[in-house]
């Protein structure tokens, strides 16, 4: 099947006073209609930057897309002008952001913020947009939608706000929903609700979903394919089951190990952590970016950056060390 969205060798750099930040380095991934792609990684790994590039929301200055293509339904979005991008955003690709408190306009009602995209993209009247917005409020599970339509963001709780954001992103029934860490700032219980909501909406509307998180536990429930990013590179890409069953990149392994598990046979073991800290983007690595923190580093790792290659069908990894067989590839 032809992917509905495909990134090819995307490179994004930020020119700051501290130096050049290599936010995204030759990243390629895709998502097919109706499927869900999960992007996993720590803060600063480039996952948000890659999807903001899709939406054309990279601030320029200081950011610049220096290479690559972003193909939406076959057409390269990087060649679109402002007007064309405006017609895509919201209408065909919807986006939900991390912090619903700061991502909603405090001086406009929730109802207005949900309905305005409809008025702009679908040309419906204010009244009809209002009706539809109320339907969406019902769909995302907000009680008393008719009254809540006229409320302001600060009158909603965190979970409700995020639901409202989702309603806003879906208001024009886009083909793709991009969710950038939508549950990171919410309670775990609310998080579960949002994820369930997303699943049901996705199935109802047959949308493609790109879900970004730093939490591997969330991805298991939601994604079909998972991409693991580190320092602006993709280090592993796999079908979700494969990834959990057989993680091949040391970073992925560490991420999985650092998840607390109820069924842990390890008993009183301490939570495994990854030593060191995630790299800030001005560092340039001579070899593999994960090398300083990896326990399987070989000499080759510090000199050459491994490419993302197929290990088996539906499973790519960028590493010189064969974890399965405990030897160099």
């Amino acid at each position: 099947m032809e992917p509905i969205l495909e990134l090819q060798n995307l490179e994004v750099k930020f020119y700051t006073l501290d130096g050049v930040v290599h936010a995204v380095n030759g990243v390629s991934y895709y998502v097919e209609a109706g499927k869900t792609l999960g992007i996993v990684g720590e803060s600063g790994c480039g996952k948000s930057v890659s999807v903001l590039s899709v939406m054309g929301l990279i601030p320029d200055p200081p950011g610049k897309i220096t290479r690559g293509k972003i193909l939406f339904q076959g057409k390269n979005l990087l060649e679109y002008d402002d007007a064309q991008m405006e017609s895509i955003r919201g209408a065909e690709i919807g986006m939900v952001f991390q912090d619903p408190m700061t991502s909603l306009n405090p001086v406009l009602t929730i109802g207005k913020q949900i309905s305005e995209a409809m008025v702009v993209h679908k040309g419906v009247s204010q009244e009809e947009a209002r009706q539809r917005a109320i339907e969406f409020l019902v769909m995302v599970g907000i009680p008393n939608p008719v009254e809540r339509f006229n409320d302001y963001p600060h009158q909603f709780s965190g979970g409700m706000r995020q639901r409202a954001m989702i309603a806003m992103a879906l208001s024009c029934s886009p083909d793709i929903l991009i969710a950038d860490e939508p549950t990171t700032s919410l309670d775990v219980t609310i998080q579960a609700q949002i994820i369930d909501l997303t699943k049901s909406l996705r199935d109802q509307l047959n949308m493609a979903v790109i879900w970004i998180t730093h939490d591997l536990a969330v991805i298991a429930d939601l994604a079909d394919t998972v991409v693991v990013m580190y320092a602006g590179y993709i280090v592993e890409e796999a079908d979700v089951y494969r990834l959990y069953e057989n993680p091949l990149h040391p970073y992925t392994v560490s991420l999985l190990k650092s998840l607390p598990r109820m069924d842990s046979s390890r008993g009183n073991e301490r939570l495994a952590t990854i030593p060191g800290f995630p790299p800030t983007g001005t560092i340039v690595f001579p070899g593999c970016p994960f090398a300083p923190r990896c326990r399987y580093t070989m000499e080759r790792c510090t000199m050459e950056n491994p490419q993302l290659e197929y290990f088996e069908a539906d499973h790519k990894v960028a590493c010189w060390f064969d974890l399965e067989n405990r030897r160099a590839r």
């Binding site: 020119y15 700051t16 501290d18 030593p275 800290f277 800030t280 560092i283 326990r295």
Partner: protein, 317 residues
Amino acid sequence: MQATAESEVIKLQEELKAEPLTPGQLIWLRFLRHKMAVFGVVMLFLLLLYSVGGAFVFTEAEANFTNTSIRLNPPSAEHPFGTDTVGRDILARTIYGGQISLLIGLFAVVVEVIVGVLIGALAGYYGGWIDSLLMRFTEAMFNIPQLFLLLVMAKFFGGKIPTLTVFGRSFSGSVIVIIMIIGLTSWMYLARIVRANFLSLKEREFVLAAHTTGTSHSAIIFQHILPNSIAPIIVSGTLSVANAIIAEAYISFLGLGVQPPTATWGNMLEGAYNYIETAPWLWIFPGSLIVLTVLSINFVGDGLRDALDPHAIVEVR
């Protein structure tokens, strides 16, 4: 095992990092990126040179020397800026006037900073009834427009302070008066800022730590908290110099400021509007000098504000 591995890893990562800039370097770099701020610094330097260096070319007596036979002469070779209503050379007067105007600007801010910081610090640090009292007072003064307050105070102190002789130069008592009243009517804004700073900083751990080691209150205020509030004080102080110069110009222009024969840029403009048609050089030169000075200070202040702002994100092309 885990611990040593961690520290080694961190060491490795640190080595890969590019040399980070120190805060001082960052501030300096940010300041330099403001072309206008740099222009301001250069301009101020030139103006200072003009006022101070010019004293070596003209004596003060020459600046105050009246010669009614050449009154209201347009600019000429002998008098490059022309002469005023009683025949004094305007160029010389702008030099000495500049000295006074700049002096007043600077010292008024010194007064302002001392009063403002003291009141703000005490109010913010001690809180309670001291805070209420000081803030009521501050608010009361704040609610009266500065110019009106200045004019009333100028009238109040007018003529009550005699001429002083410092460093062989005689300064009309009105100069001291002006310095004091401008300082005493401008501190309110700074006091508020300092108080806000102190309110938030006094709860921080380093202050609590100082308390527990028995550091005296004044030491805490001046050695611990105050250095952390320096940035807004510097910015506010710089911009206040500009305000002070304009304030002096305003009251001198209205006749209640520094009295002749001592020249200031402001009092050189007094009555100049009677001669708009006939002698524009009376006001063009001192006026332009005021504008240049104030402009430069505003540029520098703006540059400082951006350079010292920890939240500024600066982009480079």
